[in-house]
């Protein structure tokens, strides 16, 4: 089963620490040694505010991911426990952006040896970073973000099962 990051709108204070942590995590600490105007800023997580809600939006690593289905070149692929994006294959057609029901995929400018290209940009769970797990989660000041892995989701389900059973029993016994 896929892993993913999810935010809790009750705990989110909209500070956007996650967005910066995301950029620094993928770029590395070298970002603090270069010409300030030479660096791009393309977070893979976004803080969204409406009248009464504040929450983050990022890739859910869906089991039946529409982005994988629509990608014409196989740049998006279902991996062992996440949706992988192969930037080198991406042709920047933006089909994935349109297919994603969350708006979790946006385009970014990528500068490499072959020049500047536009490619898809989305959460990779910081798989290839030094930290190896999502930086947004470890950097959130209010612990509003959680990294869900198979075990934790299974735990949630079994706890809810238990709660359901307890409630049913209490009702039968006339206990509140």
């Amino acid at each position: 089963m896929n892993r993913f990051v999810k935010g809790n709108p009750l705990l989110c204070i909209g500070c956007r620490t996650c967005m910066v942590a995301c950029v620094v995590s993928h770029r590395g600490n070298g970002i603090f040694t270069t010409d300030p105007d030479s660096e791009d800023f393309f977070p893979r997580i976004h803080v969204i505010k409406t009248k009464t809600k504040t929450m983050t939006v990022q890739c859910h690593h869906c089991e039946n991911a529409p982005c994988v289905t629509v990608c014409p070149v196989g740049a998006l692929e279902k991996g062992p426990n996440s949706i992988l994006l192969h930037e080198e294959r991406c042709i920047g057609c933006q089909q994935c952006t349109m297919a994603c029901p969350f708006g979790a995929i946006q385009m970014k400018k990528l500068s490499d040896e072959s020049g500047v290209r536009v490619v898809a940009n989305k959460c990779d769970l910081c798989a290839h970073t030094e930290e190896g797990s999502p930086a947004c989660v470890s950097h959130c000041p209010t612990e509003a973000l959680t990294y869900y892995v198979e075990d934790s989701i299974a735990d949630i389900a079994s706890q809810k099962n238990l709660q359901t059973a307890r409630k049913a029993w209490a009702a039968k016994e006339g206990q509140a």
Binding site: G14, V20, N29, F32, P36, D37, P141
Partner: protein, 730 residues
């Protein structure tokens, strides 16, 4: 590639939360590699974006402004360029000019603004000692004047102590939080963390705020009041508590003065009578009062939304009244929290960088106290209360007797030309002051007016102690070596004092701290060793022995810090704001905070990641209906105008703003809010009414031209700050 890396724990230089940070430092390269949260008392290893990424300015990336690394003076007088000179020349020049001004006009013609930011408590102590013992005046103040001075004054009247009565960790164990005029999510994310944790633990939240803040959004009751109606609302809450029999009579009888006189005065403040003016239904006000009074673990948190009004002091007293009426003082997880904004604004008050008090909140007018300081410092001291920071423009522009004017202004680590209200008037005053000494780390808006620039070490380059918002002393450690050519603030003060004929010498900050402790009984027990051992010591801490670990919450068992030990209920009638909206200026204008930037932004604006989130010319947040009426959309450049000035910024439609209300963050140069703000002051604290004035927003038809203007203005100001390449931004 593990090199010569070292771990150093210190305290964050932004906001009053007092977060401890562990830095990994490459000693050989003299660079910070990364920041991690350390398990501090207030932050529990959590940090916000400023803590994680706000150290980058130490790399001097020259994004916004340039680090000053040599003293500079205007050799040819005003109008001539600032020229780099040796320290000897700069100190001699400054000392001679100061001496001449004192000789001609007397010591009270000199004013100083101390720093509530990087320098720390030892530098704060030295600032006031320099002004009092060397110059001979009590004209010393700092930016608390423009933020929480009203809290200090209002609480002193009612409970005798102008600080948070509870500590940050206690907030999460409150049962009811009354959050008024406080947006922790933008000003103190790590305090906001305790608010959302309290909510998760089951606390009820009442939020009084004209806008839908992050706290309002999760509140059980959101009193979305009209701006400038705090005292109406607070008196209506008190009225309800009295009328509905919710007063804690035992607490009031045992520990509080003035109930008999206080209660009848509330007569005009029935929720039903004021609801229309406040803009909140009467039943909602009553429900809030009942909820607040329902617990003995009710906490009131406030910020600038209470203090930055012309009736700030009275509103603070009204908050304190509610806590006294309901017996919500003197126990764990109860009380009041005026949450101090800057990292060391509590400390700068503690150190007596105030015109009326020596270190430790001891009055300059008290003969016995003054004699104690005279004996310690070996000089006669002035018994007259000094000038307040916000009185400077008036004292320069309106005072006709030259002997009473301000002729020299020594500004340490502050940027009044950005942060003070009604900037046009301030600039006019600055042009008339004979000698302006700016001691800072970066060029800033104020340095344009400086006759002398003295380069100081920054946070990260020196040792110190800061006091965080809940009275917690914490050790601040040198992380990297400072650039060549700069000196610590306290060393510069020693050099100046010595040059002026009052020799001062200290080997380190501990020697300064020890001198201060011996003169301020409330802090005597907080030794460097104890702070080191415990990580944080909250004052009061009287005894040096390790048994006295400081004070988590104040006023234990109803023992207030007043002369007779009892709290005082103080009633004040509501007065409207000083500039109401009208046909010409139909929108209200309120200054607020940007979470990723701090104060006048010379530090955060020079951090790569923080400026990526927000940059010039900022935003004006306004209701979508108001935007629609003007025909402006998100991102459009607009001109905002008040009776005092105008600026250009971008339109940000948001339903979080009420119709008719606008909000701007105050650190931008082009979108400089303080061109618009009203300089009217609270008569008691002299705090400006930053939170309310009238404005109008004008659509700019030629957007391309406006974009070009913003870009060129930004380049122009950056060039003035010593940045040669005016590249990205805007």
């Amino acid at each position: 590639m593990q090199r010569n890396y070292e771990k150093i724990v210190t305290v964050c230089p932004y906001c009053g939360s007092g977060c401890q940070i562990e830095f990994t430092v490459d000693k050989k390269a003299n660079r910070i590699i990364e920041a991690k949260g350390a398990p501090g008392r207030t932050n529990e290893a959590r940090l916000c974006l400023k803590g994680f990424y706000g150290w980058d300015y130490l790399n001097d990336p020259q994004i916004l402004t340039r680090r000053i690394t040599s003293p500079m003076i205007r050799k040819g007088g005003k109008g001539s360029p600032l020229e780099p000179v040796s320290w000897e020349e700069a100190i001699e020049f400054t000392a001679e000019r100061l001496k001449a001004i004192i000789k001609e006009y007397g010591p009270d013609s000199v004013m100083a603004a101390g720093s509530a930011r990087g320098p720390g408590n030892e530098a704060g102590y030295m600032t006031q000692k320099f002004m009092r013992a060397v110059i001979g005046t009590n004209n010393v103040d700092h930016c608390a004047r423009i933020c929480h001075a009203a809290s200090v004054a209002g609480l002193k009247q009612t409970i005798g102590e102008g600080a948070m009565s509870l500590s940050v960790p206690e907030i999460e164990d409150a049962e009811v939080i009354l959050n008024i005029g406080y947006n922790g999510a933008t000003s103190h994310p790590i305090v906001a963390r305790r608010i959302v944790k309290a909510k998760a633990k089951g606390a009820k939240i009442i939020c009084a705020d004209p806008q839908i803040s992050e706290t309002a959004r999760i509140a059980d009751i959101h009193l979305q009041q009209k701006g400038g109606t705090n005292l109406l609302l607070l008196n209506a809450l008190a009225y309800t508590i009295v009328e509905e029999g919710l007063v804690d009579e035992e607490f009031v009888n045992n520990y509080v003065n003035g109930y008999e006189e206080f209660a009848p005065k509330l007569a005009g403040y029935a929720p039903e009578a004021v609801a229309a003016q406040v803009g909140v239904p009467a039943e909602q006000i009553r429900a809030a009062a009942r909820l607040y009074a329902s617990s003995k673990h009710s906490v009131i948190l406030w910020g600038m939304g209470i203090t930055q009004f012309s009736q700030g002091v009275d509103s603070v007293a009204a908050c304190s009244n509610l806590a006294m009426l309901t017996g919500n003082y003197g126990r764990y997880a109860t009380g009041v929290g005026p949450v101090r904004g800057q990292n060391n604004v509590q400390g700068t008050c503690d150190m007596g960088v105030l015109p009326n008090e020596y270190p430790g909140y001891q009055d300059v007018t008290d003969d016995a106290i003054r004699e104690k300081f005279e004996k310690a410092w070996g000089v006669k001291l002035s018994p007259t209360v000094g000038l307040k920071l916000t009185q400077v423009p008036e004292q320069v522009l309106e005072e006709t007797d030259p002997k009473k004017q301000i002729h020299a202004y020594y500004i340490i680590g502050e940027d009044p030309a950005q942060s003070d209200p009604h900037l046009e008037e301030l600039r006019e005053a600055f042009q008339k002051i004979d000698l302006i000494i700016v001691q800072d780390i970066f060029m800033n808006r104020t340095s344009e007016y400086a006759d002398v620039l003295l380069p100081a070490t920054a946070w990260g380059e020196h040792d110190a102690i800061y006091t965080c918002c809940d009275r917690g002393f914490q050790r601040v450690r040198k992380v990297i070596e400072p650039p060549a050519g700069v000196k610590t603030d306290w060393e510069i003060l020693c050099l100046l004092a010595t040059a002026m004929g009052y020799p001062m010498h200290y080997n380190n900050t501990k020697e300064i701290w020890d001198e201060m402790r011996m003169l301020a009984p409330k802090f005597t027990g907080a030794t460097y060793e104890k702070i080191e051992a415990l990580g944080s010591v909250q004052w009061p801490c009287y005894d040096e022995s390790m048994e006295d670990t400081g004070t988590m919450y104040l006023h234990k068992d109803g023992n207030f810090a007043t002369a007779d030990g009892r709290g005082n209920l103080v009633f004040h009638d509501y007065q409207p704001v000083k500039e109401e909206v009208d046909d010409e200026y139909p929108l209200s204008f309120c200054t607020v905070r940007e979470v990723g930037h701090y104060s006048a932004r010379t530090m955060t604006g020079n951090c790569r990641m923080l400026r990526q989130l927000e940059d010039e010319p900022g935003w004006i947040a306004m209701n979508p209906k108001d935007c629609e009426a003007l025909g402006v959309e998100q991102g459009d450049l607009v001109r905002v105008r008040s009776r005092r000035g105008s600026l250009i910024t971008r339109c940000l439609p948001t339903e979080r703003a009420k119709e008719g209300a606008t909000y701007m963050t105050y650190q931008w140069w082009i979108g400089a809010c303080n061109e618009l703000t009203n300089g009217v002051l609270d008569p008691k604290s002299k705090t400006p009414e930053y939170k309310y004035c009238a404005c109008r927003v004008e659509k700019l038809d030629n957007q391309a031209e406006a974009e070009e203007y913003v870009k060129s203005q930004y380049a122009l100001i950056r060039a003035k700050m010593g940045i040669e390449k005016a590249g990205a931004g805007a």
